[in-house]
């Protein structure tokens, strides 16, 4: 579904991604872990097409198409969703109008008719319940005045509305209390199918107790330095990243 080969990217002239390789298949759940500043958010932004980042080398294909040539909205239509680490507030744009525009733009891309108002409101109601999002929040401006937890739930709500093939969730668990974490994780699990895939970016083992990834990657200084099964998360939980980093550095020297 997603193939990333030797991807390098810079921001403000500074190289952040220094050769990423990644292969994601339908039905898989991957976790990307790593210390702060490793480049996890950068990778997600680059895959989603944020123009602030420049890809200087490498390739990324999504369902056989060159991802890097697509504008961000086309990537979205093709089924790529990014749950932002820091969801953006857009005062004056209501969630309802925002989501209606998003759904109808996608339908236009797929050559479908716009959704009727009643159909749309029904869909909103249905998807909102997945993450227990207040109906009041849905009528407010995008993320404006939302608490940290509400913002994260709102990301999952939008994911539910758009039904992506590949969802990249960037620290959707950070800043959540246990209840909110459970709601978010259950939301993600409800949306899983054998055809779609998820990449969760996280610091913590605790989200992975709910969302069970098959493959864990450790990202450090712009490279994936280790890839293993779920046991790697437990190891990191117990011993931190230091020994993995040391291992990788030793391997590089030798």
């Amino acid at each position: 579904m997603l193939t990333v080969k030797d991807l390098h990217a810079t921001i403000g002239g500074k190289e952040i991604l220094r050769g990423i390789n990644l292969e994601v298949h339908p039905g898989e759940v991957h976790a990307i872990m790593g210390p702060n500043g490793s480049g996890k958010s950068t990778l997600s932004m680059v895959l989603a097409g944020n123009p602030a980042y420049e890809v200087t080398h490498g390739e990324a294909t999504f369902r056989g198409k060159n991802l890097l040539e697509m504008t961000p909205d086309v990537r979205s239509h093709e089924g790529l969703f990014l749950g932002f680490q820091y969801p953006v507030e857009i005062p004056g744009v209501s969630m309802v109008n925002f989501m209606r525009a998003a759904i109808n733009e996608k339908r236009k891309y797929l050559g479908e008719e716009p959704m009727s108002a009643t159909e749309f409101l029904k869909l909103m109601r249905e998807k909102r319940s997945i993450v227990d999002l207040d109906s009041k929040l849905a009528s407010r401006s995008v993320n404006e005045g939302f608490s940290g937890g509400e913002k994260k739930r709102n990301e999952i709500f939008q994911m539910a509305m758009l039904e992506p093939r590949l969802a990249i969730l960037d620290e959707t668990d950070s800043g959540l209390d246990v209840d909110a974490l459970r709601i978010v994780a259950e939301g993600v699990n409800k949306l899983r199918t054998p055809e779609n895939a998820t990449i969760v970016i996280t610091h913590y083992q605790r989200l992975l107790d709910y969302i069970k990834p098959q493959i864990i990657h450790v990202l450090y200084k712009g490279r994936i330095i280790k890839t293993a099964g779920p046991e790697l998360a437990l190891e990191i939980e117990e011993r931190g990243f230091d020994h993995i980093i040391r291992e990788a550095e030793n391997a590089e020297k030798s």
């Binding site: 602030a52 504008t71 979205s76 969801p87 857009i90 005062p91 004056g92 525009a101 998003a102």
Partner: protein, 455 residues
């Protein structure tokens, strides 16, 4: 030679004809206006308060005036449908400077309320018009002097003490002409103590190919504890110039909202001279300009706090695109005796292209320590983070731009105190940003059809 000369000559050569087409107080003021104008020079572009408006260039063309009061064959109500139709209003028409017959609208007004032709009022209610006409707008302002010298008609609105006009008044003004025409019009609005009314002025032009000039002066007397909303919505062609000078005086505890909405225009200069002359007066001044192509909008506001305990709050927002120009000059004056003044001003602007220009000049003159004042100016582009977030969810860049521009105006729209108008305005603004403005024509625009089918 100064651009005023042709108008003075026109007046001197046609004094009788002009007087015959008007009446009473309007005629009485002309000689003084002419005298003031004879010694006046038009402020140059670039001079204080006129940095971005070239009055000479606007006034120089040889505009025709309908001083012979020829009846225009058109029936405005027939030929024109306004885009704010879902609003239930008492509807009046002004074609050029000519007030249209309006018995049906008038029947909806409470006893004692007058809404009529200003010339008619000068004849029928001379004591009222004499008392208020020309008392706020000074002849030292050349635009007022020019207006006072040539004006033959306009609208008189009078709400007697304690009367509340429930139904919003709507004045649809239409400028049109086969040849370049200038409409000189005057609005005289008097609210006695505790009177209440709301007025929506929709300014349109018909015929996009003829240069037209709207030279208007508005005087508003707001009595003690009166309440009045004035919404002015300009939707005119690119060859239209509008020079509007508004003078407002507020007595104790009067509560006013002035809202200037420039949706479509050519060259516009709006002046607001507001005086809070007695304690407790409250003024909210809102403005919105949507400028693209090569349109220009220059709003000048002066809010004078002359008495203690008054409150003013001003919010002006512009979206400036393409090669358009926006200018805002906002002055707040607090007199030495005006303690416990609260005066707030904000001017926020979104400039979307390198060719678009925005000039903003806030000025505070405060001669009292016991005041709360603030002002803020911001000129910015669209937020990249917001744009990317929207694109990530599948919105194309043009759609994301449109949503952000609509959102930018949300708080100005929220300030409208009349809910149906607020909803309507939100829709008009949404459509303004969503449509290609070069398609705009007041009579036959695609938007009109859209609104109708939505209604």
């Amino acid at each position: 030679m100064n651009a005023l000369k042709q108008y003075i000559d026109l007046y001197l050569a046609n004094r009788e004809l002009i007087d015959r087409g008007s009446a009473g107080a309007l005629n009485a003021l002309r000689p003084a206006a002419c005298e003031a104008l004879s010694v006046a020079t038009l402020p140059r572009k670039g001079s204080e308060d006129y940095e971005h408006t070239d009055l000479s260039a606007i006034l120089s063309p040889d505009f025709g005036l309908n001083i012979a009061r020829r009846h225009l064959a058109i029936d405005p109500a027939q030929s024109f449908s306004c885009r704010v139709p879902s609003l239930s209003t008492a509807l009046f028409f002004l074609t050029g400077d000519t007030f249209g017959a309006a018995d049906r609208a008038r029947a909806q007004l409470p006893e004692g309320v007058i809404v009529c032709s200003l010339a008619h009022a000068a004849r029928e209610y001379p004591q009222l018009v004499d008392r208020y006409y020309g008392k706020l707008a000074p002849l030292s302002n050349p635009l007022v002097a020019l207006n006072s010298m040539l004006v033959q008609d306009g609208v008189f609105i009078y709400v007697p003490r304690g009367v509340k006009v429930e139904k919003p008044l709507q004045l649809v003004s239409i400028l049109n002409g086969e040849i370049p025409m200038m409409a000189v019009r005057r609005l005289l609005i008097v609210l006695e103590e505790e009177a209440e009314a709301r007025l929506l002025c929709c300014d349109h032009t018909q015929g996009a190919d003829t240069p037209l000039l709207n030279l208007q002066t508005i005087e508003i007397h707001a009595g003690a504890r009166s309440r009045f909303d004035l919404y002015e919505l300009e939707e005119s062609s690119r060859l239209t110039s509008r020079l509007s000078s508004l003078y407002l005086a507020m007595e104790a505890d009067a509560n006013l909202l002035l809202d200037g909405i420039t949706l479509f225009n050519g060259r516009t200069r709006n002046e607001y001279h507001c005086t809070l002359s007695e304690p407790g007066a409250t003024l909210r001044l809102l403005g919105m300009g949507i400028e693209d192509d090569s349109r220009t909008l220059d709003n000048y506001t002066l809010i004078r706090h002359e008495a203690p305990g008054c409150y003013s709050d001003e919010l002006m927002k512009y979206v400036v695109e393409d090669n358009a120009t926006g200018a805002f000059s906002g002055r707040i004056y607090v007199a030495p005796g005006a303690s416990k003044t609260e005066a707030y001003q904000a001017n926020r602007n979104m400039v979307t292209t390198p060719g678009a220009r925005m000039f903003s000049k806030p000025q505070l003159e405060i001669y009292n320590d016991d005041v709360k004042c603030s002002h803020g100016t911001a000129i910015g582009q669209m937020d990249e983070k917001q744009l990317f977030y929207m694109q990530q969810r599948g919105l194309s860049l043009p759609v994301a731009h449109t949503l952000l521009k609509q959102a930018f105006m949300a708080d100005v729209i929220e300030g409208v105190r009349l809910q149906p108008l607020r909803d309507r305005l939100r829709m008009l603004v949404d459509m303004r940003f969503a449509a290609n403005s070069s398609d705009h024509d007041c009579n036959t625009c695609a938007m009109q059809e859209q609104t109708d089918s939505n209604a």
